[in-house]
Amino acid sequence: MTIMDQPREHLASAPARAGSPAESSVLRSVGGLAVQEDAGPVLDARHLKKRFVRDGNSLEVLADITMTLSPGEFAAIIGPSGCGKSTFLRVLAGLLPYDSGDVRVMGAPVKSPRPEVGFMFQGLALLPWRNVLQNILLPAELVGMDKELASDRARVCIDMVGLTGFEKYHLREISGGMRQRVALARMLMTEARLLLLDEPFSSLDELTREVIDIVFMDVCLKAGSSYLMVTHSIYEAVLMSDKVFVMSRAPAQVIGAVDVALPKPRTRETVSDPEFVNAANEVRKILETSS
């Protein structure tokens, strides 16, 4: 039984049940969303290896990846095109199997998709025949969430991402930036603690992207979720994360991690901070060695 199966009143007040992996957790309510805090890492991937075998040929995609993420930590992965970043993200989500190593989310091994993990696809995967609200409610329908609880949660999620008033709008009637918000709200429906983002903002224009970057960070900060995003933009990687992982060419390996010691919430002014510039330069330097 996951948190979302419980009646809403329990969410804010009840302590974690004995015997659950989240025994040491504390529940608090932020912005109407129940948030669980764990002592252990949200993501713990160790010596992850994966090969693709096609027509008898074996191709090594993930060489040996070790990566951890603490609760509330934001991280970005940057690396050359086709290096295996998306594959890595899909393995973490339980959408692809891995060959060896160990992946744990909230302490539990990942064998198949888990409710604590949200995933934002590059193409967003919004269903064009559903309106904004119906798209956001989809995860609730798929996991069989109580209808009343689902509509309460949807209201909170819609409010968090700033879509109030647009519930009945059709996807074609809203802009690309707003569609990103829909996908974000949908991801928050199941109270995912770890959000995996596969180049989610790459199709947006520069200005919209800046706005969405900041909105996204603020929402995740409020929801208490951690995220790991794949991006091609050094600027975005540094602006949106506490830690930037730089990956090598395929087969993927982490060849460097840059800590971004900038306070959150961040704003557009963050980019003029000397620390931002330093971190960006460092990331660029490591990237250049990889290619």
């Binding site: 339980g94 959408l95 998709p113 995933f119 009637e173 809203i174 930036g177």
Partner: protein
């Protein structure tokens, strides 16, 4: 962020819209009508001048006279053919969509059975028609079965393509929330295939009238159950060419009506299914909101 442009579209008076549509329809129809008058005129004059007997090439006036001589027979033929075509088409839609859905559940079943659907499609209807008449009797039932056989394949294959159309990200999303094959079918694959079903329906709609007339012609069903195909066969035997042309023209008119009705129905359904799609076709987004 404002919804005003969208609402102003809706606020357009229906009277004004009808007037607008009326004028544009008149303009659209002017040249085809002009062409029709010219062709009929040339036809009438050239036959009149060359003295070709009307049992070889009837003049338009001969056709009109033949029509007016026995309008009841022609009308009942049209109704019979229309009823058979509609019933067969309905059968093809229901069995085609349901069959495709069953096939799509299992790749093994699909690979085992789909080739036989192609065989059904490639077998000339003339070849099976006598067999159908032997099995189902010389009555409207045989006609309906033949119409079904001819319009079933476009429904089946189009629906099948539609059921496979959702992109990998959307499938990934459903896997992420551990949706059952049934839920994935009902909430993703079937809704995603609606535009494809509509395209299949347009093809099947046109084929159904042709199928009905061919079936009536081949089956030779008489006694008021024969429809236009039977009238054509009988007029040809009697060298009643003007009547034959009149029946053929009724057939094409019926085909046009079927095609038009299916087009209108599919547009209405598509609009209900995905309201934005129509707005985009109408010439750009009128009320896209930013953010």
């Amino acid at each position: 962020m404002s919804a005003v442009p969208l609402l102003s579209e809706r606020a357009l008076g229906s009277g004004a819209r009808i007037l607008h549509v009326g004028w544009s329809t008149t303009r659209k129809l002017f040249f085809p009508v002009l062409g029709f008058v010219a062709i009929v005129g040339i036809w009438q004059l050239s036959i009149g001048l060359t003295h070709i007997p009307s049992y070889i090439v009837p003049r338009p006036t001969d056709v009109a006279r033949a029509t007016l001589n026995a309008p009841g027979l022609l009308w009942s033929g049209v109704l019979t053919t229309a009823a058979a075509a509609a019933a067969g088409l309905l059968l093809a839609v229901v069995i085609g969509v349901a069959g495709a859905t069953c096939l799509a559940f299992s790749a093994v079943v699909e690979r085992s059975l789909f080739p036989y659907a192609i065989v059904l499609q490639t077998t000339p209807v003339i070849a099976i028609a006598p067999l159908v008449v032997i099995w189902f009797g010389a009555n409207i039932r045989s006609i309906i079965v033949i119409v079904f056989l001819i319009s079933f394949f476009p429904m089946l294959s189009n629906t099948l393509v539609g059921l496979h159309s959702p992109d990998p990200d959307m499938r990934g999303l459903f896997r992420l929330y551990k949706a059952s094959p049934m839920k994935t079918m009902l909430k993703l694959r079937v809704p995603g295939s609606v535009p494809y079903i509509m395209a299949g329906l347009k093809i099947a709609g046109g084929l159904s009238v042709i199928g009905a007339i061919v079936a009536e012609y081949v089956a030779g069903v008489g006694g008021g159950q024969g429809g236009l195909g039977y009238l054509i066969a009988v007029s040809a035997q009697q060298l009643n060419t003007p009547y034959l042309v009149a029946a053929a023209l009724c057939g094409s008119l019926l085909g046009l009506i079927f095609f038009g009705a299916v087009a209108i129905a599919s547009k209405a359904l598509a609009t209900r299914h995905d309201p934005g799609a129509e707005a985009e076709v109408r010439g750009g987004i009128t009320g896209r909101v930013g953010g």
